[in-house]
């Protein structure tokens, strides 16, 4: 393309390590056209961010561009000196990072940071720079821009902060903006607003945007062109409609197949089978010696009544002066035998707190948790121990949920040995069997958690959770830290557990399409309150509460998929 403002040609990035030469980016080419958004999509480690960093010369030593050229407005920039590159960076190319919290300096007001950048690049006087800064805050739709000019970053919410970062990126009137996962840290409702803003700014100001993301929904909603990367290489380049609607490359096909559909429920997620990563689960085999599947009283396994949790906001010696923040406010729902009950909500809605109270990890400040007819809150220590044996939990972050100093075998064996279900000798055989069933290679028990990827660790978590043959499994955002193809695998395992072992589950997520695929009934939470509980199909077709309807409307539609 001749009208490209930024052109990346056959770029390869090398990192020499003591284990040999590592190439995170191999022979990557794409063009950016003014006013157009190019999505760069791929799983973690695919080299998408590394390419972005290479463009503006932000590669950390010893990483460097070993081959290829980068052209900006007809000038080659990859071979410039650090000083020349610094001038171009910021002036011509701006960057928006994932975490708005760390990309603003907490010690300066938003205004000061904007004015400094404007003066640096445009050489305006202090007064003019301030006028310009307030214009920019208006441009990114920050209300009361004149007052907010003098506020500090911590006085802004996450979405507002990301708007400030975008304003900061616009200061120098750049021709290209690289946005690296700009909405990953934000809630759905805010994500939609920020993406709209980026779209509008690109169009109005003729800025070329590189949008790096792992989220197919974001790609579908925002971009015109898309580049799919896998293991450092570009596997597919094309218009968004074409790549999403009729993917050519088998990797793109498998990636798109794994994206949970918001519109219809599928029985199983299609497996991503690119690159020889086939996995076989044998959960069915576990069912044969699964013992704990007796029915609960009246078929209700768990009943939560008026559950409340308050956290101390400001402690005081005088009890009446202590202020509290109510994280969970009078929440009630029940879960039937063999059912998957979902809780959706944005961050801070209290959904994880509910899960942790049910798991007895948090003390309950009010209400009851009735499990199979008996109240967990008022139980004595002995009954509680028996209760804990019947519930297990899978956590969100696969990196913190496994003890880094214990071997995988010890981690999975711990519940078995603690509950005296098996002796040490028998536990070894059982652990090997469990790890095999969740699809890990033999020999996994002798390794440490850091030797496994995120998805593999989540499998280890699952093996640990089902080791005691629980009746009830709490999944707290089990896949939100994982790539979409790995997510599909983990969700399939969970589905198998539920189907073949009759496990009852509480499934917590912020991801509506995933909830639709997984859950029989869904509760919607906002600011500590349960707004609506209903059948998942009913909820997705006819939501009663306006907040639910709003959430559903903001959900990326992925219209290009499946025609």
């Amino acid at each position: 393309m001749t009208d490209a403002i930024l052109s990346i040609r056959n770029v390869t990035v090398e990192i020499p390590t003591r284990h040999g030469l590592f190439k995170p980016v191999k022979n990557v080419s794409y063009d950016i056209v003014p006013g157009e958004i190019r999505g760069v999509v791929g799983e973690s480690g695919a080299g998408k961010s590394m390419t972005g960093n290479a463009i503006i010369g932000l590669l950390d030593d010893p990483a460097h561009i070993s081959e290829g050229e980068i052209w900006l407005k007809g000038q080659r920039i990859d071979n410039l000196s650090a000083e020349e590159l610094r001038r171009i960076r910021g002036k011509e190319i701006s960057m928006i990072f994932q975490d708005p919290l760390t990309s603003l300096n907490p010690l300066f007001t938003v205004g000061e940071q904007l004015v400094e950048t404007i003066q640096l690049h445009l050489g305006l006087s202090a007064g003019d720079a301030k006028t310009r800064a307030i214009e920019l805050l208006d441009a990114v739709s920050i209300p009361n821009s004149t007052e907010r000019f003098d506020q500090y970053p911590h006085q802004f919410s996450g979405g507002m902060r990301q708007r400030v970062v975008i304003a900061l990126a616009l200061c120098s009137e750049p021709s290209v903006i690289i946005a690296d996962e700009p909405t990953t840290a934000l809630d759905v409702s805010i994500q939609a607003q920020v993406l709209d803003l980026i779209k509008q700014l690109a169009r109005d100001r003729s800025i070329g945007v590189i949008l790096v993301t792992h989220d197919m929904g974001v790609i579908a909603e925002t971009t015109e062109q898309v580049t799919v990367m896998y293991a450092g290489e570009v596997v597919e380049n094309g218009t968004t409609d074409q790549v999403l609607g009729a993917p050519m490359h088998p990797y793109t096909q498998s990636l798109i197949a794994a994206v949970p559909r918001p519109h219809k429920k599928v029985h199983r997620f299609p497996q991503v089978s690119y690159g020889g990563r086939e996995t076989v689960f044998k959960i069915e085999d576990l069912a044969r010696n699964w013992t704990q599947s007796k029915p609960s009283k009246e078929g209700k396994m768990l009943e939560v009544k008026g559950l409340t949790k308050r956290f101390v906001e400001k402690a005081s010696l005088i009890p009446s002066r202590t202020t509290y923040f109510t994280a969970v406010d009078n929440v009630s729902f029940d879960i039937k035998d063999g059912e998957v009950f979902g809780i959706v909500g944005e961050s801070g809605s209290g959904k994880s707190t509910v899960a942790r109270m049910i798991a007895t990890l948090y003390e309950v400040d009010g209400g009851e948790v009735v499990f199979d007819g008996s109240d967990v809150v008022t139980m004595d220590a002995k009954d509680r121990a028996a209760y804990r044996k019947q519930i297990q939990m899978i956590f969100q972050d696969p990196f913190s949920s496994l003890n880094p100093r214990m071997k995988v075998g010890e981690i999975v064996a711990e519940p078995l040995i603690h509950h005296k279900i098996l002796g040490r000798g028998q536990a070894v055989t059982r652990v090997a069997e469990l790890l095999d069933k969740v699809g890990l290679a033999r020999g996994a028990e002798d390794k440490y958690p850091h030797e496994f990827s995120g998805g593999q660790r989540q499998r280890i978590s699952i093996a640990r959770a089902i080791a005691t043959q629980p009746r009830f499994l709490i999944c707290d955002e089990p896949t939100s830290a994982l790539d979409v193809s790995i997510q599909a695998q983990i969700l399939n395992i969970l589905k198998d557990l539920q189907e073949h072992l009759g496990l009852t589950m509480l499934f917590i997520s912020h991801d509506l399409p995933v909830v639709r695929q997984m859950c029989d009934r869904v509760g919607v939470m906002k600011m500590g309150q349960m707004l609506e509980v209903s059948d998942s199909e009913t909820l997705f077709s006819a939501a009663k509460h306006p907040y639910t309807a709003e959430l559903l409307q903001l959900m990326p539609q992925l219209a290009q998929l499946d025609g």
């Binding site: 942790r356 939990m393 100093r405 603690h418 290679a441």
Partner: protein, 313 residues
């Protein structure tokens, strides 16, 4: 996904040799040299009876006529030659240094181990339980920090001296020294362990252990402790250097190791009496040894701290 290749789990030694820490060690000249010097000094202290030419504490081997022999010169009366000279009593300085270093290292290592165990236990309790347990332990630590540690050690030493019968005093001296240095040193272990424990406590693997039903004690020992040990290792190394110096200081002041069991500090105290009368070697060589020991251990500790801190890389 299933790993296609099933590599056998490497042995422990292979893991250590392959680790980034060992690589950082191998490629750092400071670490290599200081480790070499430390090892050399420790080995020569441990094998002192084999290396030393005489046993300086066996009165039968002493000859007062050998007193004040300068290094590398034959004695004027007996004609005997001493590598590093002799002191006023005719003791071979080289041998006294080797034996003195044994005492210094023994006191240093034991005191640090004592401080470490105390600090880890109190730090774990404070960090894990929080609330009043935390307040009491950490305020006690704060109060202790307001006194200079030498002063605390002197206080403990004074009390112990008052309550032990005179005939046991010399035997007790070493143990009192260890107690005094250990007690003045636990605070920094406790602080670091407490901080690290509070971080680890919030991680999901601890929640998972709670869910299994593990009691608090098991969670602290089995789960949290192994994960807070690397900063402890760093402090222990740096503390060892400080403890050796603290012991030397106390001995120099005359309230540490008794002359019958002289440590490097005691030797320096004895030596400084003769410094201005020209017999410099009685002071100089023990002081150099102390310097080399403290410096090499300290450099090793500094390097370890940097190597284990990913943020400095």
């Amino acid at each position: 996904m299933t790993d296609v290749t099933e590599t056998p789990a490497p042995t422990r030694l292979r893991r250590i040799l392959d680790s980034d820490l060992f690589y950082a060690f191998r490629t750092s000249p400071v670490a290599l040299i200081s480790a070499l010097v430390t090892m050399f000094l420790i080995l020569s202290a441990v094998f002192a009876p084999l290396i030393a030419t005489t046993n300086p504490f066996d009165p039968a081997s002493l000859n007062l006529m050998n007193g004040f022999t300068p290094p590398m010169e034959p004695n004027a009366f007996t004609g005997e030659n001493f590598l590093l000279g002799t002191d006023d009593q005719g003791r071979d300085v080289f041998s006294t240094i080797l034996y003195g270093m044994r005492i210094s290292l023994f006191v240093g290592v034991t005191a640090v181990v004592f401080a470490m165990v105390l600090g880890i236990v109190l730090g774990l309790l404070a960090g894990y339980f929080g609330g009043w347990t935390d307040t009491i332990i950490m305020r006690a630590a704060d109060v202790q920090l307001t006194f200079p540690s030498i002063l605390v050690a002197m206080l403990i030493f004074g009390i112990a001296k008052g309550i032990t019968p005179i005939e046991y005093r010399d035997q007790m001296a070493i143990w009192v020294l260890i107690l005094a240095i250990g007690l003045s040193d636990w605070v920094q272990f406790a602080r670091v362990v407490r901080g690290a424990t509070m971080v680890e406590k919030g991680k999901d693997y601890v929640a998972a252990a709670h869910l299994i039903g593990r009691p608090s004690f098991a969670i602290m020992i089995r789960h949290i402790l192994p994960n807070v040990l690397s900063p402890v290792l760093v402090i222990a190394t740096i503390s060892l250097a400080l403890a050796i110096i603290a012991e030397a200081t106390l001995s120099f002041l005359g309230i540490g190791a008794p002359p019958t069991q002289p440590s490097l500090g005691t030797l320096i105290r004895i030596g400084q009496q003769f410094l201005f009368s020209g017999e410099w070697w009685i002071l100089f060589f023990p002081a150099c040894t102390l310097l080399a020991l403290a410096l090499s251990v300290n450099l090793l500790g500094d390097w370890l701290r940097d190597a284990l801190n990913p943020r400095l890389k």
